[in-house]
């Protein structure tokens, strides 16, 4: 049984509003202005600002997993249409807007991958900065041009066993299937599944702040 709890970022969000997303954000926009509530009310200007703020992030997520540039461009447009339609579901008191956008993005990517098939079996790990962050020390991560939360996530990922880190990168970041990961890494299929599942849960646990002394655990 594994204990899980809230990633602290949501607490941070409630306290300090939206986080700076570094290079993925339009630095000329109002970086701390929440947008989704305005988008949900049909504010076209807010939607345009949201597109400027998150289009780089959405594109990066999509392009890493969708082989065809044309399909990727269409999918990005679908994702923002989905954000537009789903904005009324966002509750600013419980989470950050970028996570909301990224969750919608991931869902649409997964839908598309399951419809048209996965990326080629051979994956080029085209994220040298991330590799460097995962294998480097704290100074390496500190020097990266990313938000504090991204640094924290990288530190958590770096702390995992290499096999777990690798399966997470291939599955979550590159969108490979269990069998593709097994083929790429030479690990048995069952081992891949175990590393990925336990690794993801470990990340969740490690992103969680320490339990308050009197907190209660509940099983289900």
């Amino acid at each position: 049984m594994i204990c899980t709890a809230i990633p602290s970022r949501y607490v941070e969000h409630r306290q300090s509003g939206s986080r700076n997303r570094g290079r993925h954000r339009d630095m000329t926009s109002n970086e701390h202005t929440p947008l989704l509530a305005e988008v949900a009310r049909g504010d076209q200007d807010a939607m345009r600002t949201l597109i400027k703020r998150y289009s780089g992030l959405v594109w990066s997520l999509v392009r890493r997993k969708i082989r065809s540039q044309t399909d990727a461009e269409d999918l990005v447009q679908e994702i923002f249409a989905d954000v537009w339609k789903s904005a009324h579901r966002y509750d600013a008191s419980v989470g950050s807007e970028d996570t909301f956008v990224a969750m919608i993005t991931r869902r649409r990517i997964i839908d598309q991958i399951r419809r048209i098939g996965r990326a080629p079996d051979q994956v080029t790990l085209d994220a040298p900065g991330a590799d460097r962050a995962c294998s480097g020390d704290d100074d390496t991560i500190d020097q990266m041009d990313t938000t504090p939360q991204a640094k924290r996530v990288m530190r958590v990922l770096r702390s995992l066993r290499p096999e777990r880190r690798q399966t997470i990168e291939l599955a979550v970041i590159h969108g490979l299937s269990h069998s593709q990961i097994a083929e790429s890494t030479g690990m048995p299929l069952g081992t891949v599944k175990a590393h990925l599942r336990r690794g993801l849960d470990e990340v969740r646990t490690l992103l969680t702040p320490q339990l308050p002394a009197d907190s209660k655990e509940v099983s289900r």
């Binding site: 399909d71 909301f100 969750m103 048209i116 979550v172 269990h178």
Partner: protein, 295 residues
Amino acid sequence: MSDHQHYELSERLIALCADYATGLHEQNDMNELDRLDPDMSAREAFEAVAAELDIAFAETDPVEMPNGLEERLLASVPAPGVPDQPELRLVNDQSPPVRTSQQLQSPRGAWFPWLVAAASVAVTGIVLLRPTPSPTPDQPPVALTALEQRDALIEAHANDEDLLRYAWTPTEDPAVVGEVTGELIWDEERDEGYMTITGLEVNDPSQFQYQLWIFDATRPLGELPQHGDAFGGLLTQRPIDGGVFDITDTGEVVIPIDAKLLVQQGVAFAVTVEPPGGVVVSDRSRVPLLAIPSG
């Protein structure tokens, strides 16, 4: 920190949630996942973790956007005055039931154990994708039928000529099994439309499904030149997915159009026969129906 709630998940639920969050789940496992995670809170917690990992990598190694993409995205935002939330599409809305944050987070009652878990996960962003309470919660949601929605759209345009209405043009495709009647209506401002169809073969969704494609005059032509100059070269265009649907009755059926992209200038529509679930890019080898401007 005091509001943190902890709970334990079984190894099986962790496996199902991790597979779901990475898109590696088997359809056969979904019933079990729904049973173990009835409000989807656990699986969405894993989705949030996966999203956070994805964001961190994207920040570290962003992929440069192609020229013009952001401009095209910005241009696709509806003009002022266009209704933004397609609430009339309730019939096809697959969203989970509406729950309020208050329901999720109240740690009271005999259902305490699950509620505590649900509440903790709710704070992790689980309700990020959930419907929030309606501004008028006393009014029960009204699920209009597709026919009622269609009639409402026609009624809304009773005094203007802004509703596009196209009769069907059948082809010799074997899916055309009778006299084709009906029409396609499309409201460009609302990005909403409906098809009424008779004369198409009732399909077994496990064998094949129908898919609507919308040809938008603002999109480039010439990507599928094998379709030549038919209909002014329109069918060479890369169209917008208008949704997968089934013909369930030999009589007239009414089907809402589910455009996956904003349609800026829909000038023609085509129904194709596709494998179950539809396709991203149709080869248009079977096109039983077209809806194109007359003349």
